[in-house]
């Protein structure tokens, strides 16, 4: 019979103050988890409102100005407050030092500071919402963003502040991975989740400052009219797009790489099998990180950039497909002749494979210059990035959350309800977004408040899908919260994992390990190590 250890990081020391001033990476991870899930809830409510408005053409629940603010906030909150921090700050903070066999991250105070900076950024964003809101779209394109009313400066300030949080997390993780690995853990004995977090951190460090300077220039443009992006003053609005996408395309990989890392953990554990192509998966993370800096111009094929530039960006964009494809093939090959355990985390891994493959393949249509002309700025793009971001990252986040939940909180959630939740989310997601691919090929532009009558049926189905999706998330929230008190104690290693976090108690003590761990086998050595699931 499994029990919860009497003293663990959750209950010792006690009190609100001990949480707000904690330097323990696990507690900071939990604080982050609560914060990003709050942001996800808010962004999700906005998403449902968008779909309600688009249920029929014309006005349903709000006017065009409100709608423009709502879709801007949906995008800005989901991207800057949920999905960019997402997996690294919540799951990564908790399990990265555990997986490395370390007592904490390299700079615990910087870690806590990054959470507070995140909260300050979120509060400034809230202030922006309530002091006039923002209707620029999350992309802040000039000259619209320098002309329109509302609290654009406050919102750019919020994103600027959040950038610091992101950089601090990145610095912390890189140094931790370099300096604090357990004895015996060579680079190629690191779990693949660590590899992906490392590649992510490098992008965070290198791309975020460029976003920072872009936002400074945008704010200056609005406050003092420096004229750099303002066509009326000899500036160039397309320059802003170059600046913006130089960050925001690599940012896409800040969002997806950690997700790929989670999947690389789930598939071998639940197949009870060595991962296929460990080195290929590790290297491909870096291949993706590197190429991600060279493809920003594929957002701008019809923006008036030169045809030569478009040609180069199109070619490089296709190259990024290869390392992503290699990963997908490796995961599939890992399943071959495995002993596949259909637990909830694995169901999410399957959802990821299914949805991310669609998301990736639809990228081919957008990387191809001639077809991109027709499809860009339509719902095809909306569907494409939701398949990658939500079908990819959110599914992996949920998979990771269900996988490490017993480690983080020591208790197991309801298996039956978690299966129902997974099924509803998978179904609802496809109903919502598969329809949007067709809306896009049929020519419905994105960011439309109302639409031509021919797009009516598909919009209706898409909105219905969003309700199924919402129901799935509500069920998931309920059984997870319920499990915190009522769940069965999970035991140290419920799934039969081989990485170091499963060698300590669930939940772990503040110092992580009773005795400093020494690595005796690789992260996926199911051929030599003897381990069995305990639930």
């Amino acid at each position: 019979m499994n029990t919860i250890p009497e003293i663990n990081y959750l209950n010792h020391p006690k009190g609100i103050k001990s949480w707000l001033l904690t330097l323990d990476h696990k507690r900071i991870g939990v604080l982050y988890l609560v914060s990003i899930l709050t942001a996800f809830l808010l962004g999700g409510i906005f998403a449902v409102m968008i779909r309600l408005e688009l249920l029929t053409p014309g006005r349903d629940i709000m006017g065009p100005q409100t709608y423009n603010q709502i879709f801007t906030l949906h995008g800005a909150i989901m991207i800057f407050l949920f999905i960019i921090p997402g997996i690294p700050v919540a799951l990564g903070n908790v399990v990265l030092p555990l997986m490395l066999g370390a007592k904490d991250v390299a700079f615990p105070r910087l870690n806590l500071a990054s959470w507070y900076i995140y909260i300050v950024g979120a509060l400034v964003a809230l202030y922006a919402i309530f002091s006039g809101s923002v209707d620029t779209g999350w992309t802040f394109y000039t000259p619209y963003s320098t002309e329109t009313g509302g609290a654009v400066v406050a919102m750019t300030l919020a994103v600027f502040i959040l950038g610091f949080s992101s950089i601090f997390t990145g610095v912390n993780f890189v140094v931790t991975i370099h300096k604090l690995r357990a004895p015996g853990m060579t680079w190629f004995k690191m779990p693949l989740f660590i590899w992906s977090i490392y590649a992510t951190a490098i992008i965070q460090i290198m791309a975020t400052p460029v976003l920072g300077i872009t936002l400074i220039l945008l704010a200056l443009e609005r406050i003092v009219g420096i004229g750099i992006f303002d066509p009326a003053m000899g500036g160039d609005p397309v320059l802003f797009q170059h600046f913006f996408w130089f960050y925001s395309h690599p940012a896409v990989y800040i969002m997806i790489l950690p997700a790929m890392g989670v999947i690389s953990e789930l598939i071998p554990v639940f197949s009870h099998k060595k991962i296929f192509g460990y080195r290929a998966i590790a290297y491909s993370s870096f291949g993706i990180a590197f190429i991600s800096f060279l493809v920003w111009g594929h957002h701008m094929f019809i923006s008036g950039q030169s045809q030569l530039a478009s040609m180069i960006f199109s070619f490089l964009t296709f190259l990024v497909a290869i390392p992503s494809g290699v990963k997908v093939f490796n995961w599939t090959a890992t399943l071959y002749k495995g002993s596949i355990w259909l637990q909830t985390p694995m169901l999410y891994a399957f959802s990821f494979l299914f949805l991310f493959t669609i998301g990736g393949l639809t990228g081919l249509f957008l990387g191809t210059l001639a077809t991109d002309v027709h499809l860009t700025d339509t719902y095809f793009v909306v569907a494409h990035f939701h398949y990658v971001m939500m079908g990819g990252t959110v599914m992996a986040f949920l998979g990771g959350l269900h996988y490490w939940w017993p480690k983080m909180f020591g208790r197991m959630y309801s298996i039956k309800w978690s299966r129902i939740g997974t099924a509803l989310i998978f179904l609802g997601f496809n109903v919502t977004f598969l329809t949007q691919f067709v809306l896009g090929t049929k020519g419905m532009p994105r960011r439309y408040y109302t639409y031509l009558d021919q797009y009516r049926p598909l919009n209706f189905y898409s909105s219905v899908g969003s309700w199924i999706l919402a129901l799935g998330f509500i069920i998931t929230a309920i059984y997870l919260i319920h499990s915190l008190r009522k769940g069965k104690p999970a035991g140290n290693n419920p799934w039969g994992g081989l990485t170091l976090e499963w060698t300590t108690t669930s939940p772990p003590p503040t110092e992580n390990f009773q005795t400093p761990p020494v690595l005796t086998h690789g992260p996926y050595d199911y051929d030599t190590a003897d381990v069995k699931p305990t639930i």
Partner: protein
């Protein structure tokens, strides 16, 4: 040529559309192949190797160089082919034939203006002869817009500080929607227009009639036509509900509250000024976003619009 569209593509209204569709379907079939390969295999493994009770002995093969080279090189070859196909078609889509008929397009919130070589212009209605290459030279008066005709498979951003262009050749008479596809504010989704593809003869006739508009119908009905065709309808309603701009219902003769606290009577001169210099007097509670119609409307057009607004204000006395 396909004029009704397929399940997933709109009708092909230009010569280039069927080529784009061919490439689109090629990528679609390649994608379906890879999707079935990966997800099909994964699904099969999930079913065949699912755990029944105890952990079954598993294969521990962790790499296979030949297989890994195959699944790297084949996709690489495919994407390089796609790149070349996409690029060569893209270049043809971008280089307009020399003899193309050139029309100047001006985008502003939230309407399209088309200036023809003969000196006439139209709003939100682009009339072109069938079977001739048309080149659009485009610029914006305010923010970035994007000119998108789904049936033609063409789209190009319209920028405030420089010219961009698209070209197309629509072989058959018919009508096609124009949609703005770069977010530009409140009226973005109603910044719509129509491309009317007509025969040579009809095109010549249209050029003539457009030069002397609205002959033979009374001012009120002509104004009602203009209300739609010049896209006043994007921002103003005639049923009293609020949109981007004030409603025209019961407007005429009413006292209007302006920004800054002053008042003005909505008479003919006020309406005329508001059409030609909209920023001069802005109604309280609205933003000064209306573009000027100076040069876009002929004197008779303005008379007609005022007459139409007048007709909407007739019952004012009875209402109160």
């Amino acid at each position: 040529m396909d004029t009704t569209g397929t399940l997933i593509m709109p009708p092909a209204g230009s010569t280039i559309a069927s080529e784009v569709d061919w490439l689109f379907y090629l990528i679609l079939y390649i994608s379906i192949f890879f999707f079935v390969l990966v997800v099909g295999a994964a699904t099969y493994f999930f079913i065949k190797y699912r755990r029944r009770g105890e952990i079954a002995p598993t294969s521990q093969v962790d790499h296979n160089i030949k297989l890994e080279i195959v699944w790297t090189v084949i996709p690489l070859a495919i994407v390089i082919i796609l790149f070349f196909l996409g690029f060569s078609l893209y270049m043809r889509m971008n280089i307009a034939p020399k003899d193309a008929l050139e029309v100047k397009v001006t985008a502003q919130r939230w309407l399209w203006t088309f200036d023809y070589p003969t000196g006439i212009n139209s709003v939100n209605e682009l009339v072109v002869p069938a079977g001739k290459p048309i080149k659009l030279l485009m610029s914006s008066n305010d923010v970035i817009h994007s000119f998108f005709v789904p049936d033609f498979r063409v789209k190009m951003d319209v920028l405030p500080n420089r010219y961009t262009s698209v070209w197309f050749n629509a072989p058959y008479p018919g009508q096609h929607n124009i949609q703005c596809s770069e977010y530009c504010g409140k009226g973005h989704s109603e910044m719509l227009g129509i491309v009317k593809v007509v025969s040579d003869r009809e095109y010549t006739e249209w050029l003539e009639s457009a030069a002397g508009p609205g002959e033979g119908i009374d001012l009120e009905s002509y104004g009602e036509q203009l209300f739609t065709s010049k896209r006043c309808v994007t921002c103003h309603t005639v049923d009293g509900s609020l949109n981007v701009g004030p409603s025209f219902l019961h407007l005429f003769g009413e006292n209007v509250y302006l920004q800054g606290g002053s008042q003005v009577r909505a008479d003919e001169n006020y309406l005329r000024e508001s059409i030609l210099a909209p920023e001069a007097k802005v109604v309280d509670g609205f933003e000064p976003v209306m573009p000027t119609y100076q040069g876009l409307l002929k004197p008779r057009d303005i008379d007609a619009l005022i007459a139409y607004i007048k007709s909407l204000g007739q019952e004012q006395g009875e209402q109160q």
